[in-house]
């Protein structure tokens, strides 16, 4: 009996009146876990019962502990008739199952009823006694920690990052069972809530098992989603990144902990060598397939790096090579067992070597109920429509959904390879379902991760602290798909180290693919930062802006919005028409993003998320990203408008008028976002791009592109202009939509990434919010244009409304702005936005710059351990006489956004030959092995440059303030951190699913009143659970689903909301500073000795 669950019901308060006669309630409580139920006594005639029950004890398997929620039902005792339910509380006891999290759940929980909402509160105490029974450990996965946060959680260090984990479970949806016709809506809702709770528990346990198998102990970036497939069932699926995390128990005591990984280090330093094979794959068939695909479908070439996956609709028409490749891939996948995917979006500095671009794949599937009684999906594969004759598919295959996703992931993987990348970071998956059609989407950022980072001895400290890292894909051919890989050495002054250390601010921008054999046409220049390597003209990614990136000015939220009508159709016809539309939508979305980016004078997108939503008679695309100006990338050229009939005088005039407007807007935006890149003298620019042949390919046109090459304006000099040809109404509309985007009012910035590039001085004042709008598209005969305009207006108005609401917080920034679009009915569009507004202080930036280094040192140390390690590491280095001075220097460089220390530039040396790198790499490892034995400790400049920059950056971010937080307040934020605060403990994952239904919609204030109350209730329940765990904040909060249905004629409405996040305890930095901070010198000692131990 591996576990004992103990529950005590203490009291209730503010119960509803259940007995009209006495205006009182005779309440009692049922406590249910698994199949066991206990009851309290009836506490008669009170709205504030004091049960003070005994401890109810459940003796259960830990497997059950993981799957089952604790179910507490409050009822009103009725002598003559059936007892009336007041409401329920579901408590996920998972946080109690791992030692480091919460030890007890105790507090007031809202009593929730799916029909009436919150009805009073109940005070409950829950404890778990776990018996250590190792034999049973394999069936459950107790002890595996889950984090929604998409970075290494702040008070942990990553010993190993194992890689991708995924799982899904399927069940029948209770709402569609026959019994639903006879049971009450309440019973039906509760059955559904309970089932989903059970399924999430099971899913989490299964993922946990996979993690244990990989010898990990945690899942980071855990994302769980529900697919409500209607009659064909209910799918709960999750993805995440398996890690081995070590708790940093104390800010000063973390250093000795680095011993364990270093012991394993020597054993397999060379295993990763084959990983370089990944780089060579850009000659593979997929490469050509990609190219041809694009040109086949459009008479244009896509002018950027992104979108090797232009939607699988187009993939459907491609020829054989791709399929062969797929087969190859599948085989290799079998060997590897894993996808080199990471759901993380933020990485330690220097970890990302290169970023290739966004890879995405979509696939349209049919959820078929007739052929599919046991949830066996039929593959309505868009890749080739004839596959829709399902005879060719094994319909007995029980894991259709699994197979669907596996297929998509394969595609993503191959796209990444085509980009010369061996990994995909910032990976996510989503679905959109309408009736029986389902679009599966996956996207991520192709990347080359830093093997050098692993081997580089100078990184020893941080490597150990944060990233002794071992991705599964590095170990191709190894039997388990994972090999411990901890190359490290105390030495790094080796030639190689200096040679390849990319300047921290630009390295990730350098192209990972072969310049002469690019997977798609792109315009390359030498990096504007280091001048050594090639960079693309624009960079699109799904990850957060790397901490070390050098950014000019501020960033901004960029959205592309799009509607496409489609005919109502059934089954295959529907799927076909959707997949035919997809590539066009992707293309259109991409063009919009590109135009808007240029219009803002920026050259890179981060956090790109493209959502394609399918409805009855239309498709909607919404792409959100944060645009920035990366100093390493070339200045974007302007937007040039080209008319098709140049002879027409008035037309010319019109065009020039538009051109002027566009130019004005660009100038205005540059001012607004403070984009003043340093003007570099010609000689520094170095060897200009040798191939002007590329330029013509940047031309965008709807039809004949070749005619217009001459239109390229030379006034933009070497910078290539982006040509918009307004030869048809489509393009006209594009231009208009470009110009209708209104910049946020002054004092406001917005982004969809964690932090706003260019703003560092946050105050602790935050406001998380959810806004939902449902609008009716009232057009009788809608066209794509009018729909686009409507949709655009809807989004713009929503943003405007947010700015207005939050005007009291100015100056502030909306961070992590997350739009979700749904098409609940024929003409209804639903947009849900969750974001956090953070106030920043304009004046404190200067102060922070001037602050004495020592002070800043302390402050950084209070930020979080991850950052903390850097300065301490530095100070521990015996060779660096002035450990803090580089920090200051780099800081100044960062704050002015311009100065790149000359030394930094000198450190990087061009490497064009791939083979060279490979050789040198192996050499380095050998060298390192020697130096470890010798035990010498040295540093290179690369460390000094990389780390202090990060430190300075974060110091800006975490300006403390004097405001005190009251104990009862629970903060919520979609970010992984709280400004001005330090997260001291992660208490467990919050993953909640609620259904609310009403049959008196008008009485509850109509749809708005209903949903307003429900969202407030959801927030309240999340806060209550966090408070009961002993926490005071939820980080990485996300509303994953908000499904709203109404039937005004029947006065009914129903809504489902699914939210998740990490419950944490945080401490204000202002409070921390009162405590004696450990002197850096003291910490330096163990660091030195740790270094000794490793030798």
């Amino acid at each position: 009996m591996p576990g004992k669950l103990k529950v005590k019901i203490v009291a209730g308060r503010h119960l509803p009146v259940m007995d009209r006669a006495s205006d009182l309630t005779d309440a009692f409580v049922e406590v249910k876990f698994g199949n066991t139920t206990f009851k309290t006594d009836v506490y008669p005639k009170s709205l504030n019962p004091q049960w003070n029950s005994e401890w109810f004890k459940f003796e259960v398997d830990d497997e059950e502990l993981q799957d089952e929620p604790l179910q507490i039902t409050v009822l009103d005792h009725d002598t003559y008739s059936a007892n009336d339910a007041i409401g329920k509380v579901y408590i996920d006891i998972d946080p109690l199952l791992y030692s480091e999290a919460a030890t007890v759940i105790s507090g007031w929980f809202p009593i929730y009823d799916t029909i009436h909402g919150i009805r009073g509160e109940i005070n409950v105490v829950v404890k778990v006694d776990l018996f250590n029974d190792l034999n049973r450990f394999r069936q459950s996965s107790c002890g595996v920690k889950f984090f929604c946060t998409t970075s290494i959680p702040k008070c942990y260090r990553a010993v190993v990052i194992h890689g991708f984990v995924e799982e899904l479970v399927v069940n029948e949806d209770p709402e569609y069972q026959w019994i639903d016709r006879i049971r009450t809506p309440r019973a039906s809702n509760e059955a559904r809530q309970r089932l989903i709770s059970l399924m999430s528990g099971e899913l989490q346990r299964k993922i946990g098992l996979k993690v244990l198998e990989m010898r990990g102990n945690a899942v980071v970036g855990y994302l769980q989603c529900f697919d409500l497939e209607g009659e064909s069932g209910l799918v709960v699926r999750a993805i995440g990144t398996a890690c081995t995390l070590d708790k940093l128990s104390n800010t000063s005591a973390f250093l000795p902990a680095c011993n364990s990984p270093s012991k394993e280090m020597k054993e397999s330093p060379l295993v990763h060598a084959p990983s370089h094979g990944c780089r060579s794959t850009h000659n593979s068939p997929i490469h050509t397939a990609t190219g041809s695909r694009l040109t086949q479908n459009f008479s244009v070439s896509v002018p950027t790096l992104i979108y090797t996956g232009m939607g699988s609709g187009s993939a459907g028409k491609e020829g054989g090579p791709f399929k062969t490749l797929l087969r190859q891939q599948t085989q290799s996948a079998l060997e590897q067992r894993e996808f080199p995917f990471f759901t993380l979006t933020t990485f330690p500095p220097g970890f990302l070597l290169h970023v290739g671009g966004v890879v995405s794949a979509r696939s349209v599937k049919l959820l078929d109920r007739i052929h599919n009684p046991a949830f066996v999906g039929i593959m309505g594969n868009t890749r080739s429509y004839k596959l829709l004759d399902w005879n060719s598919f094994n319909s007995d295959e029980p894991e259709t959904r699994d197979a669907w996703w596996a297929e998509i992931r394969q595609e993503i993987k191959s796209h990444a390879k085509a980009l010369g990348c061996h990994a995909v970071v910032g990976y996510s998956e989503s679905t959109s379902i309408c009736e029986e059609v389902c679009i599966l989407s996956a996207s991520g950022t192709a990347a080359v991760l830093n093997p050098r980072f692993l081997q580089d001895g100078t990184m020893e400290g941080c490597l150990e602290q944060r990233l002794s890292w071992q991705p599964g894909f590095f170990s191709i051919g190894s039997e388990k798909g994972e090999v411990d890989f901890f190359p490290q050495s105390q030495d790094s002054s080796s030639l190689l180290g200096i040679e390849e250390a990319s300047p921290p601010g630009c390295g990730f921008c350098h192209i990972p693919y072969d310049e002469l054999n690019m997977p798609f046409p792109a315009h390359l220049t030498y990096c504007y930062n280091c001048r050594k390597q090639k960079v693309p003209d624009v960079l699109f990614t799904t990850i957060d802006l790397p901490v070390e990136a050098i950014v000019v000015g501020k960033g901004c939220l960029i959205q592309a919005r799009l509607c496409r009508l489609k005919k109502k159709a059934q089954a295959e016809a529907n799927a076909t028409s959707i997949s035919n539309l997809l590539p066009f939508m992707e293309y259109e979305v991409h063009t919009q993003l590109m135009n808007k980016l240029k219009l803002r004078g920026m050259n890179a997108l981060f956090g790109l998320r493209i959502q394609i939503t399918v409805g009855e008679n239309m498709l909607m695309g919404l792409a959100s990203a944060t645009g920035v100006y990366l100093a390493a990338l070339p200045t974007p050229g302007g937007i040039q408008i080209a008319g098709k009939t140049p002879n027409d005088g008035t037309y010319e005039q019109h065009i020039s008028h538009m051109q002027k407007k566009i130019n004005d807007t660009i100038a205005k935006n540059k001012e607004l976002y403070e984009i003043n890149p340093p003007e570099l003298p010609e000689e520094i620019i170095g060897s200009p791009i040798p191939e002007p042949r590329q330029r013509s390919r940047l031309l965008r046109s709807q039809s004949e592109s070749s005619d217009e090459v001459t239109e390229l304006d030379l006034s933009h000099g070497k910078k290539d202009a982006f040509v918009l040809e307004i030869d048809d109404t489509d393009a006209m509309e594009d231009v208009h939509s470009l110009l209708t985007d209104v910049p946020p009012p002054s004092g406001f910035y917005s982004c969809n990434t964690e932090i706003m590039p260019g703003i560092n001085n946050w105050t602790p004042e935050i406001q998380m919010f959810t806004a939902v709008r449902v609008s009716r598209l009232s057009n009788i005969n809608p066209t794509n244009q009018t729909l686009n305009k409507n949709f655009n207006d809807l989004c713009e108005n929503l943003l405007k409304s947010l700015y207005f609401k939050l005007r009291s917080m100015v100056p502030c920034c909306l961070c992590h702005v997350n739009f979700t679009v749904a098409l609940p009915e024929d003409e209804l569009v639903q947009i849900a936005v969750t974001a956090v507004a953070i106030t920043y202080d304009k004046n404190q930036a200067l102060q922070a710059n001037k602050a004495p280094t020592e002070k800043s040192q302390q402050r950084a140390s209070t930020d979080n351990e991850e950052q903390l390690q850097f300065p301490l590491e530095l100070s521990s280095d015996p060779l660096s006489s002035q450990p803090f001075s580089p920090a200051k220097e780099a800081l100044e460089g960062a704050s002015s956004h311009t100065g790149i220390p000359a030394a930094q530039r000198a450190t990087s040396v061009d490497y064009s030959s791939f083979a060279d790198r490979c050789n040198s790499w192996i050499e380095l490892i050998k060298l390192k092995a020697q130096t470890i034995r010798r035990g010498s400790i040295k540093t290179t400049t690369s460390l000094e440059k990389a780390s202090p920059l990060a430190e300075g950056y974060l110091r800006h971010r975490s300006v403390p303030s004097g405001t005190n937080s009251t104990v009862s307040v629970v903060k919520m934020t979609p970010l992984s951190f709280l400004p001005g605060a330090k997260i001291t403990k992660y208490l467990g994952i919050i993953n909640m699913f609620f259904i609310r239904e009403t049959t008196s919609l008008r009485e509850e204030g109509g749809v708005s009143g209903f949903l307003h109350a429900f969202i407030a209730e959801v927030f309240a329940m999340v806060r209550a659970h966090v408070a009961a765990l002993g926490g005071n904040a939820v980080v990485s909060y996300i509303m994953k689903q908000c499904v709203f249905m109404e039937n005004p004629n029947k006065n009914q409405a129903q809504c489902l909301i699914n939210v998740s996040g990490d419950a944490v305890i945080f401490v204000r930095e202002s409070e921390l500073e009162v405590l004696p901070a450990p002197p850096p010198a003291a910490a330096a000692q163990p660091a030195g000795s740790a270094g000794d131990v490793t030798t």
């Binding site: 308060r13 503010h14 205006d23 009182l24 009170s46 709205l47 504030n48 007031w108 809202p110 919150i118 509160e121 009012p745 406001q767 998380m768 919010f769 959810t770 806004a771 939902v772 709008r773 449902v774 609008s775 009716r776 598209l777 009232s778 409507n790 207006d793 809807l794 108005n797 405007k800 409304s801 947010l802 700015y803 207005f804 609401k805 005007r807 209804l828 639903q830 009251t966 307040v969 629970v970 903060k971 919520m972 204030g1005 749809v1007 708005s1008 009143g1009 949903l1011 307003h1012 109350a1013 969202i1015 407030a1016 209730e1017 927030f1019 309240a1020 806060r1023 209550a1024 709203f1044």
Partner: protein
């Protein structure tokens, strides 16, 4: 494209003070939007009418949901639905319970019943306070009244703890409850010159000097009641049965005892002695000495008899009428200055100490303390 559904929910509930004021004043969403437009918010923020409408609706919905909690402010502190910083909560409560003095003046001494509520239309017209706001304020009065009606202990403190009001506002509510409970007549024309503030001050003096708690030795030891326990009290709806007399009622024994004071006017000797003591003390000190000498007996009779009548409910109603009619108006017609009145009352109250055979000195001074305070407050044009 019309928005069917449009909500904004913050983890910390947004409270816009301006919109709250409009809501409290009973404006509809459309009226509120119109007023905000006139306030120039559009120009300041550069936004659109649609945004303003959506914002106003959001706030109104929030307030409507909050209203239920505002009816029992301690619940606002305990509830989990809205996360509102404490100072914001205080502001919400304070603003919700703030009232228009003109309206309160109208309702002083009236029974807080359905009948009175029906008359609010007229009151609204007279005072210029919006009818919806009138109803809300009336309901506030009634709610506070019901809540403390049968509680022991100082009225103002009970109100403060039950409704988490600032002390001054709680004292005003105590006055309202006191008036509603004793049903003093305040509507007569000759009382029209008195403001709500005057009456509230009178009520406070009366409670301060006359109520149970004002006595040095209360029957039961007075415990400071915590909001928590009051809360339990509140929601259970059951009241402590041992409560002797709520503070809103004047102690019966005290009122009964007041009859003893009649000796001051009924006993001719005492009356004469009293007069001579007062006159000799005031001679040359007040400008209206002659008038005082002439009217002393009438004044004294009036002052003593007001107290003697307090045992009968019907006579209680006339308390203020009597004071005005029999004391204030004669003095005013004789052109007493407020200083004259003050001197007179001081000596009038002090004199019986030297009266042989008058044994109710403590009672007399307790009685006169309130009467003097009331008269001095009411003595103006």
């Amino acid at each position: 494209m019309s928005s069917d559904l449009d909500v904004f929910v913050g983890n910390t509930t947004l409270i816009d003070e301006e919109v709250y004021r409009l809501w409290l004043d009973g404006h509809s969403v459309a009226e509120a939007v119109a007023r905000r437009l006139r306030g120039g918010v559009l120009e300041r923020e550069g936004t659109s009418v649609a945004v303003l409408q959506s914002d106003t609706r959001d706030h109104y919905r929030t307030f409507q949901m909050l209203e239920r909690l505002l009816h029992a402010p301690p619940r606002l502190l305990q509830q989990l639905l809205f996360q509102i910083p404490p100072e914001r909560q205080a502001l919400l409560v304070q603003r919700y319970y703030a009232f228009d003095e003109a309206l309160a003046r109208e309702l002083l001494g009236k029974k807080l019943s359905k009948g009175t509520k029906k008359e609010l239309d007229e009151v609204s017209a007279r005072t210029g306070v919006g009818i919806r706001s009138c109803r809300r304020q009336f309901d506030n009065f009634k709610r506070v009244f019901k809540a403390v009606e049968e509680l022991r202990g100082p009225l103002a403190e009970n109100i403060q703890q039950l409704f988490l009001l600032p002390p001054a506002l709680a004292r005003d509510y105590a006055a309202i409850v006191f008036f509603a409970n004793s049903r003093f007549e305040t509507g007569k024309r000759r009382l029209q010159f008195l403001s709500f503030g005057d009456f509230a001050a009178c009520a406070q003096s009366m409670m301060a000097h006359w109520s149970q708690g004002a006595l040095g030795t209360p029957k039961t030891p007075k415990k400071p009641q915590k909001p928590q326990s009051m809360m339990a009290h509140w929601s259970q709806g059951a009241l402590a049965p041992e409560a002797a007399e709520p503070d809103g009622d004047l102690p019966k024994s005290f009122l009964q005892d007041l009859k003893e004071l009649k000796v001051l006017v009924s006993d001719k000797d005492l009356l004469d002695q009293h007069k001579s003591l007062v006159c000799s003390a005031l001679r040359g000190k007040i400008s209206v000495y002659n008038e005082l000498e002439a009217n002393f007996k009438a004044l004294s009779r009036a002052l003593v008899n007001v107290g003697g009548k307090l045992t009968h409910a019907r006579d209680v109603r006339d308390f203020f009428v009597d004071l005005v009619e029999k004391v204030i108006e004669p003095c005013r017609s004789d052109k007493w200055s407020p200083g004259d009145l003050r001197l007179f009352l001081t000596h009038y109250t002090a004199a019986p100490r030297n009266l042989p055979g008058f044994r109710h000195q403590a009672l007399w001074e307790r009685y006169m303390a309130a009467i003097s305070a009331c008269l001095l407050r009411m003595y103006h044009d």
